[in-house]
Symmetry: C2
Subunit: 312 residues, 2 copies
């Protein structure tokens, strides 16, 4: 079987996993930053990563690259073993930032590939393929970043195995502000410091807040969203890895943020805001705190990304 040369470009967005109370289950997509990826359909039965730009030290061998592994997983599910892909990646989301850099590559690759082969796979299947890329990056096949990257908006991963993902509504006018302190926090290390057991009392608090946050999203109830954005289990432990976390959070809340916390396993910190104006004030508050520290950083202000991976 012969293929005509087919090519597609996508924007694969950054994502915020955990979302305060929803450790290992909630996540949402940003509109930007995003990786720019171009895939070309080939008949080689293999994945060739022909170029990665952006200045990061990322492997081009398919088996060692999250996008490559995600694609190989997709290809393994195809009957036609001649199908292959060439990829170029303009990497804009810094690896290790805690805003789903590896998930963006994995999700972007499989969504683009699925377009090239006529939309053969469901969103859920694409998430499963992308999770294989995630597994390479973090050691565990979690869906809390790849799910919002593929589906857009807010997602709830009810179960990883069997995979069960719920797309949640996004209230109008909801913005995210992210600060990325340019320090390294490895996902595997951030996971190691967590306690294996938690008090039932804290667990009840946490799942009450998860229920409140999900309800708040459905009801576009910003007050309820704000009250529910509390993490009594993971944040008290992981926040010690993030410079000036408590002051940062307090200043953001004072500046009008609904609430927030650690993005994924950090070091990025996110805040949700009702409207662009408040989001910009919160960004300024973040900058005010970090400009006092000897830590480089960058900030992003973005609406919640309704689309996930976007075909250009």
């Amino acid at each position: 079987m012969m293929f005509e040369s087919k090519k597609i470009s996508v924007h694969a967005p950054a994502t915020v996993a955990n979302v305060a109370c929803g450790f290992d289950t909630l996540g949402f997509a940003l509109s930007h930053p995003f990786d720019e990826m171009t895939l070309t359909l080939t008949d080689t039965g293999s994945v060739v990563i022909s170029e990665i730009t952006g200045g990061f030290d990322l492997p081009c061998e398919a088996e060692k690259n999250v996008a490559g592994v995600a694609l190989l997983s997709l290809m393994a599910a195809l009957d036609d073993k001649h199908i292959g892909f060439d990829i170029t990646i303009q990497k804009n989301i810094k690896p290790g930032s805690g805003i789903g850099s590896s998930s963006a590559s994995a999700a972007g690759a499989v969504v683009a590939a699925n377009h090239l082969i006529g939309g053969k796979f469901s969103a859920l299947q694409l998430i499963e393929f992308a999770m294989q890329g995630e597994k390479l990056a973090s050691g565990t096949a979690h869906a809390d970043n790849v799910a919002p990257a593929v589906m857009g908006g807010f997602t709830l991963v009810r179960s990883n195995c069997p995979l069960d993902v719920v797309k949640l509504p996004v209230p109008p006018n909801l913005y995210a502000v992210v600060i990325h302190p340019l320090i390294e926090v490895k996902t595997s290390d951030a996971r190691k410091i967590l306690k294996t057991h938690v008090s039932l009392k804290d667990a009840v608090t946490q799942w009450s807040n998860v229920g409140g946050l999900v309800a708040g999203l459905f009801m576009s109830d910003y007050g309820l969203i704000a009250r529910s954005l509390q993490d009594v289990i993971v944040e008290p432990i992981r926040s010690i890895l993030i410079p000036a976390f408590d002051e940062l959070k307090q200043r953001c809340l004072s500046a009008g943020a609904l609430g927030g916390g650690i993005s994924g396993s950090g070091p990025s910190v996110f805040m949700l805001c009702d409207g662009l104006e408040k989001a910009q004030l919160v960004e300024k508050a973040m900058q005010a705190v970090y400009s006092q520290l000897a830590v480089s950083y960058e900030t992003h202000v973005s609406p919640i990304g309704q689309q996930g991976v976007l075909v250009c």
Copy 2:
């Protein structure tokens, strides 16, 4: 100040707390069974429980009766210290059944009283008053039964202190089936056998299911509701107190129940069903299991009670 004699009668419904995954946070009201209560406004500044019928051994002293304590709590929030109430209670919900018998009395009393004094208090305030009655009954002031009794439908208690209750939507055609094995399980005992700590892994599973269940209610997604009705934390421990729990649950699921679990702290077991017909099949399955046991029981089939306490 003088009062004209004012009287009101209400139906105060049974409720199911916890709802599988939502220990100490979720609850819903049934349409029946319900207690029948009649309150008369007086100018004595006191609560007189003039009659309790139904054949149970319940105290008539206001300070020892959950309805009395709830009313005294409401009265303490009034400026006018002459306001008092006479109550008669036809108790239909068996005490100790695990379907919110004490909550029904407490909620019915304060909702009825509030009508008599012109609706001075909000639903949230009424829940707080009723919680004082609950405290008398179970030792802790939880809102997971009184909230649905006062507000109707499904409720999420996001926080007990400060009290924050979210009313969740009820999918059309949702029925509950309850079996009450006529054995005694004290709430305080059922609480004592719980572990004080749980694994983070189980906690994540639990709050993912809480999120899924809340989303399922908003989306009227019966499949998602069914998949989310899982309790990996409390049910494995408390179910040992309930005769033939595993077989009962399995038979109910086979008969078409969406899912279910222990109602409150037991011994009642509830199942949710999509439609009356399935609910009746599930009731038959429950009866088939319990007719083999040397345990008396009763069953109830009811739509979810949209109203909560109902003024007759």
